[in-house]
C-alpha cells in the first residue's frame, strides 16, 4: 500500500509555478550533456585568464541558460544527443522527469554567470573557483549519475525558509 501525502501535489505546483514544464526525457541525454560540459569546463579552467577562456565561459553560460530557462531540448548538447547519439542507441529502459536535470542546469547557470562576470572584471580567482564547482558537479553527474537537486534542494529550503 503506497500513500502519497502531498508529494505529487508538491511536484506539480513546483513545476507549474516555475519556468519548468513537465516533460519525460531519455535519462542518457543529461549524462551525455554532463560529459560534454565536463570537457568544456575543463578547457575553460585550462585557458582561464585568456580571451579564449572567457569566451568558453560565455558559451557555457548561454548553454546553461537555454537548458534552465527554455528547456533541455533547446540546450545545444541535448540537441546533439537527440540528433546524433539517440538514433544509434536502443530505446531507453524508462523515461525520466526533466525537472531534476533542469534544476541542475539552473545551478550551473548560477555558477557560470558568476564566473563570467568575474572573468570580465579580471577576477580570475573567483572565476576559477566558480568554474571548478560547476566542473565537479558536471563530472559527478556524467560519471556517477550524481543528482544535484537531491543534495542541495531540501538543504536550501531548510536554510532559506521557516516552517
Amino acid at each position: 500500500m503506497t500513500i502519497s501525502t502531498g508529494a505529487n501535489a508538491g511536484l506539480t505546483s513546483a513545476t507549474e509555478s516555475g519556468p519548468c514544464t513537465r516533460v519525460s526525457i531519455d535519462p542518457r541525454g543529461p549524462r551525455f550533456g554532463g560529459a560534454i560540459t565536463t570537457v568544456v569546463l575543463a578547457i575553460a579552467l585550462i585557458t582561464m585568464g585568456t580571451a579564449f577562456g572567457t569566451a568558453v565561459i560565455a558559451w557555457q553560460t548561454i548553454v546553461f541558460a537555454l537548458g534552465a530557462f527554455i528547456g533541455l531540448r533547446a540546450q545545444p548538447y541535448g540537441w546533439l544527443f537527440r540528433t546524433f547519439i539517440q538514433p544509434r542507441l536502443p530505446a531507453p529502459a524508462e523515461l525520466e522527469d526533466s525537472a531534476p536535470p533542469r534544476f541542475a542546469q539552473l545551478v550551473g547557470f548560477g555558477f557560470l554567470a558568476m564566473a563570467l562576470v568575474a572573468a570580465l572584471l579580471g577576477g580570475t580567482l573567483v572565476s576559477t573557483i566558480a568554474v571548478a564547482f560547476a566542473l565537479v558537479a558536471a563530472f559527478l553527474n556524467a560519471a556517477f549519475n550524481f543528482c544535484l537537486g537531491c543534495e542541495v534542494f531540501i538543504l536550501g529550503k531548510r536554510l532559506t525558509r521557516s516552517n
Binding site: T2, M48, E96, C147, G149, I154
Partner: protein, 144 residues
Amino acid sequence: MTGLYLVLAILILATAFGLWYRANNGRMRTTDMHTAGADEHGGETLDAQTIGVALGTRATLVQFSSAFCQPCRATRQILGEVSGMVEGVAHVDIDAEANLELVRALDIRRTPTVLVLDSAGRIRKRASGLPRKADVIAALGDLD
C-alpha cells in the same frame, strides 16, 4: 599549466568522492539517534498523525521526496513493490518541501531519504539515496 594541474586534481578528488558516494548512497543504516525520544532501540518514534497514514502492523516505510529528485520515482516504485509484497508493511511518500518542520526535526538533508519504522512507529533504519530492494527487505527482517 596551472589550469591543467587544477583540472587533474579536481577530477581525481571528484572521482574519489564519486566512488564513496556510489558505495554509500542508499545504504540502510541502523539509527542511533541519542535524542530525547530515544528508547532501548535508540530511535525516535513517529505516529500516524505525524506521517499522515496509519502505521503498518509490521512496519512502515516513510519516504521523503522532492521536486528536483531523480531517484525519488525509482524509490517510490521499490518501496511500493515491497509494501505490496510483504504483509503488514505500509508505504508513505512525504513531500519534504511541504513538511519542513518534520524534515528539520528528523534532520533530513537529502532526498530520497527512507525511514523504516517498526510496528510501534520507532525509527529503526534509515537510508538516504535510492535504496536497493534487497536491503529494504533485509531491513524489514531485522525488525523482528
